[in-house]
């Protein structure tokens, strides 16, 4: 059968598409957005990038944004308010293409109260200026939701965070360094030309003083991070790469200033400015971050802003920070449970997929205790709070500060090299000084500073930013996003890998559906689909997708019994679908690793569907590859039903643990660490948050990298899981590149040292040698990473 793609979102419409305006749509939601946009003459949305619309999986509840009517919340969300005009910034994770930018910047056409809107694409944010007398914040959020750009409003947006300005200050430093570098180079040029010695004294004077003035902001502003970092390293008793850099800068500055003051020209001012400029460029290249991804999320970016509290027979919306033990709250369909609580009224059907990775909701009855973090799926429930939000079990686990220390981060390979490098430079400089001091003290000082200048490890310092920066870009291109370039070094060092099971090595959405019993006829399939397509239960949704090719009929009656199943009459046949107890009347047996859906037609038992998790593609290959590098462990919160299957995949020598609580997971990582292992933890849900934070490197696997993921060092698109082994092997290759680059830069240094020790280091030699070494190292590092990635990833 030919597939029809939805005009709005491009999804497959199945056998019975919704037709509007002669165009096919996959669902009524998509049709509604299309109708709204064409009514407002915004059809260009579909022209810029066809079928780029967003499909909403879940029907949004009407009161989802009701909390925006709360004054206090309203106030703290607005960027500013001036009379009837206000500005707000919404984070919309679904922004993904040019059409999105176009539509969101034409909000004024959609509603006249919007005066201006602009999108920040890298951050996936939209800034909206609107008239508060014509539209409320809630209506504005609902307007965005109506065109399927649902803003994500979470608790941490209430605490006004200042936007990161560090990037700006680095750009300023680069700009100033570039300005001074280019001007000073111009003044230095005459001296390098043949006959430069004939330059008139007045020019030397003017050029010298101008250069001195221009170098001041470079040395004291642009380069200040290097002094700070070198000093911080010294305090931790570590000689970091920044120490010889700082020494070099200071030596260059003092030596050249002395030349200028004595009226002898410019000295090495041009080399100094160039050196700092190149170093800053390296820093900028390394510092690329993924703005829309957040690696440091705690529960605040997951939790909602407010919840409905029931008190004295009335319902009102309160910010969740005001919740106290004993409060009664109302949790509606698709709302989050903000604190550990007990059900007072209603049927709980809690979806813990974000917490545990388990996609099947858990049924809870009145009186049951519920951990915070789950999402209610089904009718509203009333809860009584047992612990305040901050004291809830999982919240506490997520909040545990990362134990990764600053000091340990500084102890890396590069700093190891720089340790020996700096010591040998100081030894060489002192020896040369001692030798020359017997002949000419003035010359001795010159030689000493010359050694420090030429040994300034500019090329060495550029090696790492450019190698790791390129590696990080290549990884990001392939769907593996690193928090910073440090992670590459950590990944290279790991020797133990711990996997989570559910959601990490199994797929979240893909499942294996099998029918047990006499195979269903086409007519019977239709009967089942006619009922399940009206149910929002995850199992029903799975079955509906599975039976998409069978025609569906309108049932004569339909009833969904919570926690049991669905029953209805289709074409005069009574169809029961649901749990074993509901359909067959027999008690269900415990401990199974699959979900079963029983079917009966007019009280005739037809059999059951089993729905099983599937392992991610390439799991076995990954395991084989990773086994060579590290010892493998698996910790799962599930029971050991799959143990046999998994131990076959993991093979001998791997440790598999089941029935682990989130605290157990964290403790297990701590134990491995105490044994001196360098642990890589790969997880997905919030139950892994503690383990991810205490491991050396925590990788979080996510279907949608922009939605919530626990705090970690790297986020991996779940489809890229099959390449995990390749990524880790590639970090080893990056390291080889670094060692080769080190060798290149050291050979330049040794050549330069020859000039320095013999007292022949002229400004011209420095001006050639330093940029040449830097450029050749940068070119080698970036090009070889690019080439290697072509065939290795």
């Amino acid at each position: 059968m030919e597939k029809t793609a939805c005009v709005h979102c491009g999804a497959d419409c199945g056998s019975s598409p919704v037709i509007h305006d002669d165009k096919p749509f996959c669902c009524h939601g998509c049709k509604t957005v299309y109708a709204l946009l064409s009514e407002k003459d915004l059809g260009q949305y579909y022209a810029i990038q066809p079928m780029s619309g967003i499909k909403l999986g879940q029907v949004q509840s009407l009161s989802k944004f009701a909390f925006l009517d709360h004054d206090e919340i309203n106030e703290s969300l607005l960027d500013f308010r001036d009379g009837t005009s206000a500005r707000v910034t919404f984070f919309i994770p679904t922004i993904h293409c040019a059409s999105c930018i176009w539509l969101l910047e034409h909000l004024d056409t959609l509603h006249k109260a919007v005066t201006f809107s602009s999108v920040n694409f890298p951050k996936k944010e939209v800034h909206i200026t609107f008239r508060t007398d014509q539209i409320s914040l809630r209506q504005l959020a609902e307007l965005l939701a109506a065109i399927h750009y649902v803003p994500e409003i979470t608790l941490d947006q209430l605490d006004k965070k200042s936007p990161a300005k560090t990037n700006r200050s680095l750009l300023l430093k680069i700009g100033i360094a570039a300005f001074s570098f280019l001007n000073i180079m111009m003044y230095s040029f005459p001296e390098y030309l043949p006959g430069g010695d004939l330059l008139e004294q007045e020019f030397r004077y003017v050029f010298g003083w101008l250069s001195f003035l221009l170098i001041l902001p470079v040395v004291f502003f642009s380069a200040n991070d290097y002094y700070l970092s070198a000093w911080k390293g010294l305090k931790h008793k570590i000689i970091s790469i920044d120490l010889p850099i700082s020494l070099g800068i200071i030596a260059l500055f003092l030596q050249s200033s002395w030349v200028v003051f004595s009226g002898n020209g410019i000295g090495y001012m041009d080399s100094l400015a160039g050196l700092i400029f190149f170093l800053l460029i390296g820093k900028w290249y390394q510092g690329k971050t993924y703005q829309a991804l957040s690696f440091d999320r705690d529960y605040k970016s997951y939790f909602p802003v407010a919840i409905t509290r029931i008190g004295n027979g009335s319902e009102n919306i309160v910010p969740i920070k005001d919740l106290k033990t004993g409060d009664h709250i109302l949790v509606r369909n698709q709302e989050l449970i903000p604190a550990d609580a007990r059900i007072v009224r209603g049927q709980g059907n809690i979806d813990y997929s974000f917490v545990t990775g388990e996609s099947m909701p858990v049924a809870k009855a009145t009186g049951d205790f519920i951990y915070a973090g789950g999402r209610q799926a089904g009718s509203s429930i009333e809860l009584v709070i047992e612990h305040a939000v901050e004291q809830s079990y999982l919240t506490q686990l997520w909040n545990q500060q990362s134990t990764k220390q600053d000091a340990s981060r500084l102890k890396n390979h590069v700093n190891n090299v720089s340790h020996y490098f700096t010591i040998s430079i100081l030894v060489i400089a002192s020896a040369a000084f001692a030798y020359w001091a017997t002949i000419d003290v003035g010359k001795a000082v010159f030689v000493f500073t010359s050694v420090l200048i030429i040994a300034c490890p500019c090329a060495l310092a550029l090696t790492v930013p450019f190698t790791f920066g390129s590696t990080m870009r290549v990884f990001g291109h392939k769907g593996f996003y690193l928090k910073s370039t440090d992670v590459i070094e950590q990944l290279h060092n790991i020797n133990t890998i711990v996997f989570d099971k559910t959601g990490t090595i199994t797929m979240n959405r893909e499942v294996e559906v099998r029918f047990h019993g006499n195979p269903l006829t086409e007519a019977e399939n239709s009967l089942v689909r006619s009922l399940v397509r009206h149910s929002g239960h995850p199992l029903s949704v799975i079955l509906n997708e599975r039976l998409l090719d069978s025609p569906a009929y309108e049932p004569d009656s339909f009833e969904e019994i919570h926690g049991m199943g669905i029953t209805g009459v289709v074409l005069n046949t009574r169809v029961n679908i649901g749990s074993k107890r509901f359909v067959t009347g027999e008690a269900a047996e415990e401990t199974r690793n699959d979900s079963r859906v029983y079917i009966s037609f007019s009280n005739r038992q037809a059999g059951y569907f089993t729905i099983e998790n599937v392992y991610r593609e390439g799991l076995a290959d990954n395991i084989q590859q990773l086994k060579k590098i590290a010892s493998l462990h698996l910790i799962s919160g599930d029971n050991d039903a799959e143990a046999a299957k998994l131990s076959q995949v993991f093979g001998e020598g791997s440790k598999l643990l089941f029935n682990q609580t989130p605290t157990d997971k964290k403790a297990y990582i701590e134990k491995l660490k105490a044994e001196g292992k360098k642990v890589l933890m790969i997880g997905d849900g919030l139950n892994d948050a503690g383990a991810l934070a205490s491991s050396k490197v925590g990788i979080s696997v996510a279907d949608d990298v922009f939605s919530f993921s626990p705090a970690c060092d790297a986020i991996m698109e779940s489809v890229r899981f099959r390449d995990l082994g390749k990524f880790i092997v590639f970090t080893h290759k990056s390291f080889t590149i670094i060692w080769i680059s080190f060798a290149i830069s050291l050979s330049y240094n040794i050549a330069g040292l020859g000039f320095a020790i013999t007292g022949q280091l002229s400004p011209l030699i420095a001006a050639i040698l330093m940029p040449l070494s830097s450029i050749s190292v940068v070119a080698f590092a970036s090009i070889s990473v690019k080439l290697l990635s072509k065939y290795a990833l």
């Binding site: 003459d41 930018i101 920040n120 890298p122 700006r168 700009g175 100033i176 300005f179 001007n183 003017v206």
Partner: protein, 66 residues
């Protein structure tokens, strides 16, 4: 001699002007988002629809009447 000194000062002033412009651009946030503007500039202005076209002719007729 004096000409060269003059040119150098002129050069510094011109280059300094660009430096100031760069500093202004950075501090006013133009470098914060380096993607969206590149897409935005490619959007066509709204195509004149029939409704807009009639409005335009109406306004021109009013002008001629006056």
């Amino acid at each position: 001699m004096a000409a060269i000194i003059f040119l150098i000062i002129l050069g510094i002033i011109v280059a300094g002007g660009f430096l100031v412009a760069f500093i202004w651009a950075v501090t006013s946030g133009q470098y914060d988002d380096d993607y969206s503007p590149s897409v935005r500039m490619l959007f066509d202005n709204k195509l004149p629809t029939e409704e807009n076209a009639t409005k335009e002719t109406e306004s021109t007729t009013t002008i001629t009447k006056n």
